[in-house]
């Protein structure tokens, strides 16, 4: 049964009408037109659809919208906040880290979750945290460089 659901997305309140069991990704993409969250496998194992829920990375393809109620949802569109561009997004462009780009927004969100709780992760920590994210184009090396670069940008900014 559809019902009215209130969500806090990228710092703003939104109300949508949907079945509470609807996977969050469909609400983000189709009701709120936030297309930057990509559908990959539908089973939460490829990382494409990663968004932040209260700062933690979750897979929106197998998270019901009801589970996001009352929590802060951050999507790629809101990651940069008022600045518009997050250091991770800048670093990915600087490193030319990507090819088809389909996995990238999920990777960026996964990396944002990591840098949010650990701004200076080791390479092993980055690889481990991002291991859920698949990149079929094989841009892993560049993506790692981009995340290290973003980590440095954030650390410098924090000093």
């Amino acid at each position: 049964m559809t019902q009215s659901i209130e969500l806090n997305i990228n710092g703003a309140r939104s109300v949508v009408t949907a079945d509470p069991g609807t996977p969050l990704i469909y609400v983000l993409r189709n009701d709120l037109k936030l297309k930057g969250t990509r559908f990959g496998c539908g089973a939460g194992v490829c990382g494409c659809c990663t968004v932040l829920l209260d700062g933690r990375g979750i897979q929106s393809c197998n998270t019901p919208v009801s589970a996001a109620q009352g929590r802060e949802i951050t999507t790629i569109e809101g990651l940069g906040g008022k600045a518009g561009t997050h250091p991770l997004q800048q670093a990915f462009v600087d490193e030319q880290a990507g090819q088809c780009g389909y996995c990238l927004t999920g990777v960026v969100m996964g990396a944002a979750a990591l840098l949010g709780r650990n701004p200076s992760p080791t390479e092993a920590e980055i690889r481990s945290e991002l291991d859920i994210h698949l990149c079929r184009c094989g841009a892993y090396d560049r993506i790692l460089r981009a995340i290290r670069r973003a980590s440095e940008m954030i650390s410098k900014r924090g000093e």
Partner: protein, 712 residues
Amino acid sequence: MTTDPLPPGLTRNSRLDRWVEMRTDGVVEVRTGKVEIGQGITSALAQIAAEELDVDYARIRMIPADTGRSPNEGVTAGSRSTMDGGGALRQACAEVRDAFLQAAARRLNAGVDELFVRDGTIHRKASNESATYWELSAEVDLSRDADGRVAPKRADQLTLVGKSLPRLDLPDKVAGAGVYVHDLELPGMLHGRVVRPPSYRAVLDAFDGKRIETMPGVRAVVRDGRFLGVVAAREEQAVAAAAALAKGAVWHEAEDLPDVDAIPAFLRSRPSKAKILSEKGVPKQAGAHAVSASYSRPFLAHASIGPACAVARVQSGAIEVWCQSQSIHPTRLDIAKTLGVAPDTITVRHVQGAGCYGHNAADDAALDAVLLARAVEGHPVRLQWSHEDELAWSPFGPAMVVAMEGAVDDAGRIVDWRHELWSNPHIARPGLQESPSLLAAWHLDQPFAQPPGIDALPGIQPTSERNAVPIYDFPNQRVVLNALERLPVRTGTLRAIGGFLNTYAIECFMDELAHAAGVDPVELRLNHLSDERAIAVIKAARERSGLASRSRHDGSGGDGSRGMGLGFARYSNEAAYAAVVVEVEAGATINVVRAVAAVDCGRTINPDGVRNQVEGGIVQAVSWVLKEQVRFDRTRITTRTWDDYPILRFSEAPPVEVSIIDRPDEPSLGVGEAVAGPVAAAIANAVFDAIGVRVRDLPLTRERMLAAINDA
């Protein structure tokens, strides 16, 4: 005046306004028939256009291809876009620039040789007089044919080509802009899903469409033969309806697939036609050391990260399709054929999808969307495949076998070389055969036959035999293709096609011969090469990787766990040269520690773009070699999720180093497929180097490695 022949892509699409439009607001619109599939081609082509037109790179706007206006450049495939598409665009832009120079000369009452162009402004030397492309665009008529009377820039005149300009598409992609076909949003759009049969030849006995029609949001249930689909208002409603439809459908199936664990024997047992690809000398020379070995690869999935998607709208006899096809014009032909309508009633527009790496489900999705959209006239339908169907129903890169025999003498001269391969035709792309090459067309109530496939097309090298004829100079050689008919498993072109296994076999076998003769495997290669560019990449990879400094290079120089190996090829013997050295840690499981590649792709348009493609090609090939194999039981494809069909992950990806040998005076050559075969052989050779064990059937799984170690 003598003129060079026009590049073929320009001969077929000779009108200059088909390629370039100079807008009055200072934007240069460039159209190309080549499409972006993640390889960065639109950025490389923009760079070429900016170079020849003498405008800033930022002024170039690449217009997505559509069948209405864009040049018909066939298929974007085979690492040929920079060679062919780049060549055509370069010439077109050179002629456009000249047309503007002529117009400026008239306006300024000057000779063309008094003029020079800087970012679209044409200046008269030693004066303040100038005119811009944007001012002149109204008086320059580009509705004329290219004539080849203007030459593009010489290597020493290039200013942008050869620079690592940033890709045009990445900022939007990391910002999360709606750049993919998946993201299209049209007024009145509905969501569609297709329910595929459980196996290739399953027959539909019964299904309950009535019950599905009453489910929330369902707007249409489509059945045509064994093509089943649903259209619903909301996406999750379409997903739920499709799941219910699948659950309620009753099929009967046949056990008609081969034993997945005995594919090489299956391929060799199939009826085949022998084709001699090369025969010279007096084959079957006895040498001091005779060696024979057989290599195989399994069926491989393209395994796109994003499932195929397309949007279609059918209204008053006009059909519009937005899809991620690599071949919008040919795909339009096959859709028209399937529906029995004229091609010009259909417009197909390219919108980016997730990376495809060959012929995957992109074209199938286009027809699926049209078939669903017919049921809801006037409403656009966004059709998306499931990930499971993407893995199980897309065409697979065909399984192949190669049997090698050879002999090497004590002096390290290869005196005999025999290469025999078994392969079905790789090409199954749309628009090329009598019957449509689109999945749904074979499932309709009045079905089209699945076409037999094609091994060779005019103008491109045959697919199975690619790289089969060795680039090495051997006095005696015989290379034979045993061409199989279409297999009971659906196949299509996958990155590097036949070149992957042929190169893997050749480059492993070179190491095996070297080991038999007790000579260095890299020296063995160099001693049988006369092509200086080939020699240069091998030496560069050897130096940069540290392979050169090792004391033993006889294929057993490792320390019992760590080893290094090299693989080399010139892709399809006509595209880029690539040599790759990998270092592995080997035991029952193999860990690729690092990879070092040297490539020569002629004139490099964008060095970072080349590196990006080569790095990705290396990682994907490592994934194929270590992990990937489509599996099936006697009835169904069983690899349907990332758990069943794992690919390389962050924790497994090696650091990759790529060096480029630039040849500014040589034609640009594609690199997308260049490293796959060399990487595969380099890994197997490194494993042998490390632990003295060789597994020849791909993938190099733990089970196979354990069996080989136990046999050793």
